[in-house]
Symmetry: C2
Subunit: 367 residues, 2 copies
């Protein structure tokens, strides 16, 4: 979608906006998509309104306020003051909603890039919906952690407080359809190639391998958005990483690796891994939430995040009880730090047999 006519980026935000990151957030259309996500809404609403005692009389910062919904709930929960910071001109709609919902004496909407804001005071609590695909895509946690370090009082609370990134082996329907697409593209290149020579006198055969590699990267080595069914999961889910938002640093999130182990639960063709996240709202150590809330995006949870699928090509034949062990590496892409690289190094072993096949290294982009 094109930028709405009104959108103007704050100076300073532009350099960080290589992928036109902010543009879509300037649309009500896109904010509405998020506001219609019932899993997301229920979790944040309960986290705030069912833990109103943690908000009462507090100074709250909403990082990336969008339409202002979290700020309005914080005000309803009894906050004394809420700073709602939003980079795009959506801030102007947030201001309208704040007014229309009668919380204008509590909520102050600030239009601008979080990192460039000066607040008149430190805050007791930061609330933010910053999660992207595979938790870390969009790298908005950068802004949330910077806001925490600059504006949160010592001992203050983060909502959400914890985040968990998980994966599991899959037998996914996506595999067959992407592979068919890949084959189709490669065969179309063949026809194109003949036409270039016969019709245009130009030999493009030397590019066939490059074209196939480009399509492979795009169709088979880029993570796919997908609504997984539980039946596609064929082994233990494993943890890729866990963060306490009160203490984690940008550096830890920007690049890390973890070893994993997963036991296969059925005889199947392992043709993918799935990835998703959960976030918990537990409050702070000093002031735990009386009603902790979890927002899950696991298979069948039906949020707008759905899950990410990483294809394993060629696939592996696995049996109940087989073990997968290896290392997952997650890092930002160099050219656009809001996007990710994921690398899986993998060995497959079977009781009584030992290692099955060679170690595999799989590389993926999350674009």
């Amino acid at each position: 979608m094109p930028p709405p006519s009104g959108i103007e980026l704050q100076p300073g935000a532009q350099g960080l906006d290589f992928a036109n990151y902010f543009v879509s957030y300037g649309y009500l259309y896109h904010q509405k998509d998020m506001l219609q996500d019932r899993g997301r809404m229920t979790a944040y609403r309960n986290a705030i309104l069912q833990n109103a005692s943690c908000f009462e009389g507090k100074v709250v910062l909403d990082v990336g306020a969008g339409s202002g919904v979290l700020s309005i709930w914080a005000a309803m929960a009894g906050a004394k003051r809420v700073y709602a910071v939003e980079a795009t001109s959506m801030a102007q709609h947030a201001r309208r909603l704040v007014q229309q919902n009668g919380v204008q004496d509590v909520v102050v909407v600030l239009e601008g890039y979080m990192e460039a804001q000066e607040l008149p005071e430190k805050v007791d609590l930061i609330v933010s919906e910053w999660m992207g695909y595979f938790l870390l895509r969009e790298a908005m946690y950068d802004s949330v952690l910077a806001a925490r370090d600059k504006w949160l009082k010592p001992g203050g609370a983060m909502y959400p407080s914890h985040a968990f990134l998980r994966m599991a082996p899959l037998c996914s329907a996506l595999y067959g359809s992407r592979l068919a697409e890949f084959d189709e593209e490669v065969s179309q290149w063949g026809e194109f190639s003949s036409w270039m020579l016969d019709g245009n006198g130009i030999n493009v055969n030397g590019l066939t391998g490059f074209f196939a590699r480009e399509q492979q990267e795009y169709l088979l080595q880029s993570a796919q958005w997908c609504q997984l069914r539980q039946s596609e999961v064929i082994g233990d889910e494993f943890s890729v990483s866990e963060f306490d938002l009160h203490t984690t640093t940008t550096k830890e999130l920007a690049s890390f690796s973890t070893s994993f182990r997963s036991v296969i639960s059925e005889d199947a063709l392992l043709n993918a891994f799935g990835g998703w996240f959960d976030t918990d709202f537990n409050g702070s150590a000093a002031e735990p939430a009386p009603k902790p809330v979890t927002l899950t995006t696991a298979p069948e949870s039906a949020t707008h995040w759905a899950q990410q699928v990483f294809l394993v090509h060629p696939p592996l034949l696995v049996e109940v009880g087989d073990t997968l062990e290896g290392i997952v590496k997650v890092a930002r892409q160099k050219l656009n730090h809001r996007l990710l690289w994921v690398q899986l190094t993998l060995t497959h072993s079977r009781a009584g047999v030992g290692q099955v096949g060679p170690e595999r290294t799989l590389n993926f982009r999350i674009d």
Copy 2:
């Protein structure tokens, strides 16, 4: 499509690349789309190979060489030297094709932004495929005209030499479908609005008008890519502008307005205007092409550009012989100068009646 892993922008290009303009050109997939466009290919191939006498022994510059196809043809036509300048890493594939087609002694591929190149000599002829939707979208003519002013010898030739931007009144099938989409979005907002109040305690009614305006801008006031049939054209085509590439300036192209007049040829509902372009390859005044070529993108011509459709909402009832008169303004968008604004000011008159209805002003974005 995401950027291919290899793509790195030249320093300097980045500031001009707000819309990630260059990213897609780094893909063979996208270059293939252009190479498969038979109308485009036939016109350029004939313009070069059927006018080989104009290329023989000449020094040629190919601005935005992509896969290098035009440079290879120029070499086949007998050019002494061809400089193929390409901003993206596609230049590396161009170098491979040049080699594989045996013209490496003639064609020098230079990877980098045209404006940042130093050539060892001035050139006799510039060839370039720079046209975007509605001719001017992408604003690549900037780079072509800058190259002309800096590198073309006095009296040198531009291929293409002339460009024509045209419009005509339509009765288009697109109108009904876009209007239905608009109505659907507005009615969905209504349901969303109720759910926000009942389920989340937040009143979003105040944003209804803003949402409708946003959807209107997107669905009804943005030009649409469309393959028009001749039967959708219901009146005289008119000229929006004509350029001689040898003399036109960036300033003239960046913003202009023209008056127009179109006589209606059938009783119909005028619900849109169509826009398209032709380019001519006539050679220079000093050395006219012996076989001039025209590349047309008019309705039914089936190039990848197709046509642009600008909806007229609400539509106008017109009769055979009615006259439309007015002014078309074309300008770059402020935020992204590669995109366009189009404004039509319009009066409708009928013999024996005079002016029918008030003057209308219609605004469109080409995104």
